[in-house]
C-alpha cells in the first residue's frame, strides 16, 4: 500500500468518526435536551379536538314567544382542502354530489369558490379551511347516502346541525332588528378572541347585523370539545377528555309580537293605501317605544324580506333580486337608518327653542299665508292663512309662518349675512338638545346620525361643492340653455351665489330649519325618542330592544338595562304646554279626521303630523305620537317615504297600531293594563334544541 492511499484511508477513518459524533450529538440534543418539547408535540399530534357545537340561543319577545329559534337540519358541507388534494381537484366528487343533491357540478363549484373583491356571490365568504355548507335542506335519504358512502364522497360531510328559523308569531318579523348570521370572516376571527373555526356551520356563523350581532357573545354559547386519540389516518382510537358545550343564552327582548305584527301590518296597509292613492310610497317605518324606559316594543321597516334566505348561503343574483336596490334594500332598517326631513313633527323642538330664546310661551303670533324672508316668500302649507294664534294652536293647525318669523328674527339677531363671533342659533341648539343629529345609542348596529345642518356643516359642505359651483357660475348650463333658458339662468345665478357665499348660513335655511325642512334629517327612532322626552317630562331615554339574557336553565344571566337617560333642557311647564298642543292635534287639528271615530275618551292620543317636502320626490308622511296623553306610556311613530301627507298616510297607521295595543274596535288588547309585562317571561324549551 502506498503512503497516499494509507493517508487517505486514515482521513476516511477520521471522517467516519466525525460523522458518528455528529449523529450522536444531534440525537443527544433532540432526545435528551429537547425531549420534553417533542413529547408535547407528539401528544398534540396524536389527539384531535372535535368541537361539540353549542346551540345558539333564541331571541324571544316580551312574552317569551320565539322570534328566532333553531331548526334541526341536515347540512351537507364540502371541504375545500380535502377536495384540492384529490387528483382531479375534486371534480369527480362534486359531480357525484351534484347528482345526489339534484344540482349541477358548476353550481357547486360556484358555491365553494372563495369570495374576493373580484369574485362575487355565489361564493364562500368564510374561511377557506372550513367546510362549506352547500345544502342545508338536504333530503334525509340523500344525506344518508352521502354519510354511508363516504368512500365515494371524500371531503363531503353530512351532519345534523341547528339552523336559524323565524317562526313569526302573530306575524311579527322584525327582521332588520333581529339581524342575521353569516360565516365568520378572517378579520372577525382576528378581532375577537375565542372565535374558532370548528367546521360546524352553525358555530362558524356570526351575527352580522341586528341583535344577532350586538348580542352575539350572549347568544353564541360556548362550544365544548372532545379530545380524541387518533392514528395517522385520523381514525379515532379513544377519547381522552371531554367538555360539554354550554348552550347560548336566550335573548329576551321588549318586542311584543302582537304589537310588532300589528305595526308591520299597519305599515304595509298604509303603504298600500298610499300607492292606491297614486303615491310612490317606496319605504316606511313604524316604531313603538316605551316612553318611560326607552324599551322598544315594535320596530317595523318597509320593504322587508324573508330572513330564511340567509340559511344555506345566498347567491349574488339572489342577493340582488331579494335584497338589492331594486327591492328597496330591505336590509336597511328605516327605523334606525332611514333619514328623512321631519317637517312639522320637528316643531316641538322649534317651540321650545323660541321660548328659550325669549318668545312668550303664552303670546299670540300672526300666522299669515306667507312670510317674506329676505327677498323670498315662504308659505304655509297650501298657502293657508290662519290669523293670529298662540303657540299651542300653531302646533294644532301646524302653522309654518310663525316659525319662519321666529327663525328669521333669530337669524337677524345673530348678525344675518355677517354673523357675529358666537351666534346663538337657538333652533339648532334646541334640536341638538332634543337628540337630533346624533345616534340614540339603541342596541341595533348601523344606526344613522341624522343631520342637523348648522354653520359649520354649511362651511364643510361648501368646501366640498364650491369647485363645481364656481365652475357652473362661470360657464352656466349650456345644455339646459337650449331647452329652458330661464331655468338655466336661474341655476347659474344660484351657482354664482353658492360659489361666492355658499358657506354663509342664510335666512332661508334658518327658516326651513324651523319647520324641519331644508337639510334637516332625522331617523324615525330619533323622532320617537324626542316625543318620548316630551311625554315623560324631559328624559331623553336610550332605546333598548333587548331586556335580558336568560340561561338555558331559566336563570337570568344578565339584565340589559337602558343607560341612564339624558336631560332635555326644557322647563316642565313648556313641555306641558307642548303636550297640550299635541293633544289638540288629534282632537281639533291636522289629525282630527283620522281620529274622528277613535275612542279618545278611552285612550287619548297626542301627536303631530308631518309632511316633508323632498326635492324631486313625493312627500314624506309622518305621524309622531304618544299615549295615553295624560299618563304617557308609549310613543308610536310611523313614517312613509313618498307617502303623501302625514294625516293621510302615517296617522291612520298609527291609529291602527294603537287599536291593537289597547284592544279597541273589537280587537283583542295586546297589552295587559296598557303596560308591558313587568317580569321576564317563563321560557319554554327550544323545540329544535338538539341538533
Amino acid at each position: 500500500m502506498n503512503s497516499r492511499t494509507h493517508f487517505r484511508l486514515l482521513v476516511l477513518y477520521v471522517m467516519v468518526g466525525v460523522m458518528l459524533l455528529v449523529l450522536m450529538g444531534r440525537l443527544w440534543t433532540m432526545q435528551v435536551l429537547d425531549g420534553a418539547h417533542y413529547r408535547q408535540v407528539a401528544a398534540e399530534n396524536r389527539t384531535r379536538d372535535i368541537v361539540v357545537p353549542a346551540v345558539r340561543g333564541l331571541i324571544v319577545d316580551v312574552n317569551g314567544k320565539p322570534l328566532v329559534r333553531n331548526r334541526t337540519a341536515l347540512v351537507v358541507s364540502v371541504d375545500r382542502t380535502s377536495l384540492s388534494r384529490q387528483k382531479d381537484r375534486g371534480r369527480a366528487v362534486l359531480e357525484r354530489l351534484a347528482r345526489t343533491l339534484g344540482t349541477t357540478r358548476e353550481a357547486l363549484e360556484l358555491k365553494t369558490r372563495l369570495c374576493s373583491p373580484t369574485v362575487k356571490r355565489p361564493c364562500w365568504p368564510g374561511s377557506p379551511y372550513q367546510p362549506i355548507p352547500v345544502d342545508d335542506r338536504a333530503d334525509p335519504k340523500r344525506a344518508l347516502q352521502i354519510m354511508e358512502r363516504q368512500e365515494d364522497f371524500p371531503g363531503v360531510t353530512a351532519q345534523l346541525q341547528a339552523v336559524r328559523e323565524y317562526p313569526g308569531p302573530d306575524g311579527a318579523r322584525p327582521v332588520q332588528a333581529l339581524g342575521y348570521l353569516q360565516p365568520i370572516t378572517q378579520e372577525e376571527m382576528d378581532r375577537r378572541k375565542g372565535l374558532k373555526v370548528t367546521g360546524y356551520s352553525a358555530v362558524d356563523l356570526i351575527g352580522r347585523d341586528g341583535l344577532e350581532a350586538i348580542y352575539d357573545a350572549d347568544l353564541r354559547g360556548e362550544s365544548g370539545y372532545r379530545r380524541v386519540l387518533v392514528d395517522s389516518q385520523g381514525r379515532v382510537t379513544g377519547t381522552a377528555t371531554e367538555k360539554a358545550p354550554v348552550s347560548g343564552g336566550t335573548l329576551v327582548t321588549s318586542i311584543d309580537a302582537k304589537i310588532q305584527g300589528a305595526a308591520e301590518k299597519a305599515l304595509e296597509n298604509a303603504i298600500k293605501k298610499a300607492r292606491s292613492g297614486g303615491e310612490k310610497a317606496d319605504a316606511g317605518a313604524a316604531l313603538v317605544m316605551d316612553v318611560q324606559t326607552g324599551r322598544v316594543v315594535a320596530m317595523a321597516s318597509y320593504p322587508t324580506y324573508d330572513p330564511a334566505v340567509w340559511t344555506g348561503g345566498i347567491s349574488q343574483d339572489e342577493y340582488e333580486a331579494l335584497l338589492g336596490k331594486k327591492k328597496g334594500e330591505p336590509l336597511i332598517s328605516r327605523v334606525t337608518q332611514g333619514q328623512y326631513a321631519p317637517a312639522s313633527t320637528f316643531k316641538i323642538s322649534s317651540v321650545a327653542a323660541a321660548v328659550r330664546d325669549g318668545y312668550d310661551l303664552h303670546g299670540t303670533y300672526p300666522c299669515p299665508g306667507s312670510f317674506k324672508v329676505g327677498a323670498r316668500s315662504f308659505r304655509n302649507y297650501e298657502g293657508r292663512a290662519h290669523g293670529s294664534m298662540n303657540l299651542r294652536r300653531a302646533l294644532v293647525v301646524s302653522c309654518d309662518t310663525i316659525f319662519y318669523k321666529f327663525a328669521y328674527e333669530q337669524w337677524l339677531r345673530d348678525g344675518g349675512m355677517k354673523p357675529g363671533k358666537n351666534p346663538k342659533d337657538p333652533m339648532v341648539r334646541m334640536a341638538r338638545d332634543f337628540g337630533f343629529g346624533k345616534r340614540t345609542g339603541i342596541d341595533v348596529p348601523g344606526e344613522a346620525d341624522g343631520r342637523i345642518p348648522d354653520r359649520q356643516w354649511k362651511r364643510d359642505y361648501w368646501n366640498i361643492t364650491k369647485k363645481s359651483d364656481c365652475k357652473a357660475a362661470k360657464e352656466g348650463y349650456p345644455e339646459l340653455e337650449k331647452s329652458d333658458p330661464s331655468r338655466a339662468a336661474y341655476l347659474k345665478s344660484v351657482a354664482a351665489e353658492n360659489c361666492a357665499e355658499g358657506y354663509v348660513w342664510r335666512a332661508g335655511e334658518a327658516a326651513n330649519f324651523s319647520i324641519g325642512q331644508g337639510d334637516v334629517l332625522v331617523t324615525p327612532l330619533q323622532l320617537a325618542r324626542a316625543y318620548a322626552a316630551v311625554a315623560n317630562g324631559g328624559r331623553l331615554v336610550v332605546p333598548r330592544v333587548a331586556q335580558a339574557v336568560v340561561r338555558p336553565d331559566g336563570t337570568v344571566a344578565r339584565r340589559i338595562d337602558p343607560p341612564p337617560p339624558g336631560r332635555l333642557p326644557v322647563p316642565a311647564h313648556v313641555l306641558k304646554y307642548i303636550r297640550s298642543g299635541l293633544e289638540g292635534v288629534t282632537k281639533e287639528g291636522t289629525a282630527r279626521g283620522v281620529f274622528q271615530d277613535f275612542p279618545l275618551d278611552k285612550v287619548q292620543i297626542a301627536g303631530k303630523t308631518g309632511t316633508g317636502e323632498v326635492w324631486g320626490k313625493g312627500d314624506t308622511s309622518w305621524f309622531a305620537s304618544y299615549a295615553p296623553a295624560k299618563k304617557p306610556q308609549f310613543a308610536v311613530v310611523v313614517m312613509v317615504s313618498q307617502g303623501g301627507t302625514g294625516g293621510g298616510t302615517a296617522a291612520p297607521a298609527v291609529r291602527e297600531i294603537y287599536e291593537t295595543m289597547y284592544g279597541l274596535k273589537g280587537k283583542q288588547p295586546a297589552l295587559k293594563d296598557g303596560k308591558l309585562p313587568a317580569t321576564l317571561p317563563k321560557l319554554r324549551q327550544d323545540s329544535g334544541r338538539k341538533p
Binding site: L12, M19, V32
Partner: protein
C-alpha cells in the same frame, strides 16, 4: 488457501480440508459478523414494531413483516457466506458481468417490467409478491468494477492513470444516470460518495478530487437553476431545513420523523410501545424511517447503540482495507465503507433533521430484501478481503 470453500473437486478429497476450513473461519472478522448480527436482530425487532399494529388493523398476521424479514436475513447471510469463501480475486473476472447485469436490471426497471413503489420507479416484480430493486445490486457491481479498474497493478505510479479515472467515471455515470431516471436521488448520491471515496483511496491526485467535487456542485447548481427539477422535488429536498413550513406536505415526513425520535427521550417508550409508531405517523417506517422506531421506542440509549454498532462495522471495514493484501482488496473494502458510511449518515441524518429526505435504507436494520442481500454481499466482500489479508506473522 485457493480452495473455493464450496466443497470438493470430484473424486479428490483434500485430507486437510477441515483443518484449513477451521483456520479460515478463525481468520474471519468475527467482530464484524457479531455487529452485523446484532444490528440485524435489532432491525428485525424494529421492523416488527413498525408493522405489527398495521397488520392487526388489516386483520393480517402481526408478524408477517418480521417473518419475511427473517427470511431475507437468512438468505442474506447465505449470500454473504458464499461471497466470503469465493476467492475475491476471481471477482475481478466476474466484475464486468456483475456490472453488466446490474445495468440491464436498471434498464429493465425503466421498461414496463418496472414497478413504481413510493414514487420511485425502482422495482422489478418477479411474481409471488417478490420484487427486486436492481439499484441495490448496482452498488455492489459498482464497487467491484471500480476496484478492478482503479486497482490494476501499476509500476511506479502512485495513482491510476487518467484513462482509468475517466473510464471509471463513465462506467459509474451510466448506472447513476439510469438510477436518476427512476428517480432515486439517494442511491445516486451513494454512487457519488462511492466513486469519490474510491478515487481518493486509489491515490488519484488532489486536483482530480477537487475538480470532481467542484464539478458535482456546479452540476447540482445547474440542475436547480435551469429548472430541470420540478418545484416539488426541490421542496421535498429542502423541506428538512424547515419542516414546519409545510407540515402536511413536503415537510410531513421530516416533521413526523423528528417528533417520533425526539419524543423517545433518554430511554425510549419501550419496544413495541411507541405511540407515534403505533399510530403510523411516520411513513415508510419499516424501511427508510426504521431509525425513528429505534429513536422513539429505545430512546437515546437505543439510538446511540445503533449508531455505535454501525460505527464499529465501519471501523472494521476500514481496518480490513488497511490490512488488505492488494490494491483491489483495499479498494473493495474502502468502497464498501464509503457506501455504508454515506448511507448510514444520510439515513439517520434525515430522520433527525440534519440531512434532506431521500429514499435510502439504513444498512442491516431496514426492511427490504434487495437491500439486505446487497448489504450482506458487501459484508461477504469485506470478509473475503479479510481472509486474504497481509499477515505479519
Amino acid at each position: 488457501m485457493l480452495g473455493t470453500g464450496v466443497g470438493t473437486v470430484e473424486g479428490y478429497r483434500d485430507p486437510n480440508i477441515w483443518r484449513r476450513r477451521a483456520a479460515g473461519l478463525k481468520r474471519l472478522d468475527w467482530t464484524l459478523i457479531l455487529v452485523v448480527t446484532v444490528l440485524s436482530v435489532l432491525g428485525a425487532l424494529l421492523v416488527r414494531s413498525a408493522t405489527f399494529q398495521l397488520m392487526i388493523e388489516h386483520g393480517k398476521d402481526p408478524n408477517s413483516f418480521l417473518k419475511r424479514h427473517v427470511l431475507n436475513l437468512v438468505i442474506g447471510f447465505g449470500l454473504g457466506a458464499l461471497v466470503t469463501f469465493l476467492d475475491y480475486r476471481l471477482l475481478r473476472a466476474y466484475a464486468p458481468i456483475l456490472y453488466g447485469l446490474a445495468c440491464v436490471g436498471l434498464v429493465a426497471v425503466l421498461t414496463p417490467l418496472g414497478e413504481t413503489i413510493n414514487g420511485s420507479h425502482s422495482w422489478i416484480v418477479i411474481g409471488g409478491g417478490f420484487q427486486v430493486q436492481p439499484s441495490e445490486f448496482a452498488k455492489v457491481g459498482l464497487v467491484v468494477l471500480l476496484a478492478m479498474i482503479l486497482g490494476e497493478p501499476r509500476d511506479g505510479e502512485v495513482g491510476p492513470s487518467p484513462r482509468d479515472i475517466l473510464l471509471s467515471l463513465v462506467l459509474a455515470g451510466v448506472p447513476a444516470a439510469l438510477i436518476m431516471l427512476q428517480p432515486d436521488l439517494g442511491t445516486t448520491l451513494v454512487f457519488g460518495a462511492v466513486v469519490l471515496g474510491m478515487l481518493a483511496i486509489s491515490g488519484v491526485r488532489k486536483r482530480w478530487l477537487v475538480g470532481l467535487v467542484g464539478g458535482g456542485v456546479l452540476t447540482a447548481c445547474a440542475v436547480v437553476f435551469l429548472g430541470l427539477l420540478k418545484p416539488y422535488q426541490i421542496a421535498r429536498f429542502t423541506a428538512f431545513l424547515d419542516p414546519s413550513a409545510d407540515p402536511r406536505g413536503a415537510g410531513y415526513n421530516a416533521m413526523q420523523a423528528r417528533i417520533a425520535v425526539g419524543s423517545g427521550g433518554v430511554t425510549g417508550k419501550g419496544l413495541f410501545q411507541g405511540e407515534q409508531t403505533g399510530g403510523h405517523f411516520v411513513p415508510e417506517q419499516q424501511t427508510d424511517f426504521i431509525f425513528t422506531v429505534a429513536g422513539e421506542e429505545l430512546g437515546f440509549v437505543g439510538g446511540a447503540v445503533i449508531v455505535l454498532l454501525l460505527g464499529v462495522a465501519l471501523w472494521r471495514g476500514l481496518r480490513i482495507a488497511l490490512q488488505a493484501a492488494d490494491t483491489f482488496g483495499v479498494l473493495v473494502a474502502s468502497g464498501v465503507v464509503c457506501w455504508m458510511a454515506f448511507q448510514t449518515f444520510e439515513n439517520i441524518g434525515m430522520t433527525i433533521g440534519i440531512m434532506p429526505i431521500t429514499g435510502l435504507p439504513l444498512p442491516f436494520v431496514s426492511y427490504g430484501g434487495s437491500a439486505t442481500f446487497a448489504n450482506m454481499i458487501a459484508v461477504g466482500l469485506l470478509q473475503a478481503v479479510h481472509l486474504r489479508r497481509r499477515t505479519f506473522d
